[in-house]
Amino acid sequence: MNWNILIPELTLSLGILLVFILDLFASKKHYRTLLYMSALVPVFSLLSLFLVQHPAKGFFDLFEVSAVNLLGKAVLYVLTSLSLFAMQDYYEKKGSVYTELSYIPLVATLGLSLLMSSANLVLTLLSLELASISMYLLVSLFREEYLSKEAGFKYLLMGAVATSMFSLGSAFYYASTGSLFLKEYRDENSLFTLSLLLILSALALKASAVPFHFWTPDAYEGAPTPVTGYLSSAPKVALYFFFVQLLTYFHHLKQWLLLLAVLSLLSMFYANAVAYVQRSVKRLLAYSTIAHAGYFLLGIATVESTLQRALLFYVSLYAFASLGSFVIMSVLEKKEGFSHHLLDYKGLYKEHPVLASLFALFLFAFIGIPPMALFVGKLGLFMGLVETLLLPLAFAFVLASILSAGYYLRVIVLMFLEEGERRFPPARVSVGEALTLLLCSFLVLLLGVFPHLLYDLIRL
């Protein structure tokens, strides 16, 4: 048994147990302490990543770590810690204090962190479910709020369908290869192709690509806004790091490129078109997530290290920008009567110049305007697609990016150039939210100017 490779997960589990036991004895007034404690747990896991010797395998080859894995885990832990810091004040102002909320995000992160290292379909399913079930709970834990329960149920139902598709796919995989370990399997037959189709559909459902996107706008709109920030950042990072790993086992199949191209083209164009008719900014950003799922899936269309490096850079920075924008929305939602309707954002610059500017910064980052780091990711993805001679996909990607600029710009125009009609009481930014916003915007800007700081760490 090689316990060394499991140190970050063990640290995380010990932290979860500690917070869980304290939660049993502490009363509700210690909620803030508990939440800050649990926000520090991922920081310790982050530090413990330096103790892991890599590359290594262990636990009967079920679990493997490599340099890329560890980088993904580092990004995941930072995101979790930041979103926990941003949660505290929102729930207190909304009068929905559940002390359980302090450790459930950590459980989800534990699942995602195991997912990135798993080399066996059983472990993959279990870690995916550990993360998903905790996320159903996170979406629906909002006191006296009907929409959050409805969103949670829809998410749960779609998630259960994905689970059963994934496990049927693994049954077929087992039947054709004789083992549940992920490995390169050259002997193509229809059963193996069917298993690939089922597993890919299940993962596409978790990544919210288009034919399987139904749950995304509902879950994002109904969930408490800080949780939406978590949902749109941490699972995406883990899933795409896992996808890159999966690519080495499946890329030789001739259906792979076709399936990925269909999924990504549908997601890009459908989501970018539907986003224009949305009235709620929260829903608009949910569709923007679906469009981004389309861009990311292009990054695993074929094996090419520049393409995958660009994808991992892009998805990591996208997660920070997305978390930041949802945290801004949760700050605004603390105002009485604020509903995320587009008209509520009118004239926001007059009332909150700093918040409006930060929101504009993240929206510009989504479009891919140069000083922001997402531009470097988009450029890398485009270059990779051109290098692998997938020119139609590269042009579709650029076209979809340009198409998407319109709805982001509309929000910015409403915030800066128009006069507000409704008056809301001012919103205070708490310490945790300020920390999250500062770090997210700082990273998005810093890595846009000096991309090599992160780019050189991604070694495939």
């Binding site: 079930i133 009907y146 329960k149 369908v161 083992s179």
Partner: protein
């Protein structure tokens, strides 16, 4: 037709009828039962694949799936109770408040 093939066909039938239930039914509890049906179809497939391949990994996987399905249903039923408390019977038979 060998017995293993028959079992595989039954399992795929169970899976597909569960999927059909998820697509066409509206009652929340029926929806949960349909997902259970899908997962049990998968369990049957895994166990019968074990017999074809001659291993035991499928049965181990089936045990894990049982546990996963139970925890998912626990969360789902809790949510149905919460929906019922907030909206009464109408709330728990059909949910369509979040849409475009």
């Amino acid at each position: 037709m060998t017995i293993e093939k028959a079992y595989m066909l039954i399992s795929i039938f169970l899976f597909l009828s569960g999927l059909l239930g998820v697509i066409i039914r509206k009652n929340l509890i029926t929806l949960l039962i349909s997902t259970e049906l899908m997962l049990n179809g998968v369990n049957l497939a895994l166990v019968s694949v074990d017999r074809i391949v001659g291993g035991i990994e499928g049965q181990v996987f089936a045990l894990f799936i049982l546990a996963v399905a139970a925890s998912e249903v626990a969360v789902g039923l809790g949510l149905i109770v919460a929906l019922f408390r907030l909206r009464g019977y109408e709330g728990s038979s059909e949910i369509t408040h979040l849409r475009d």
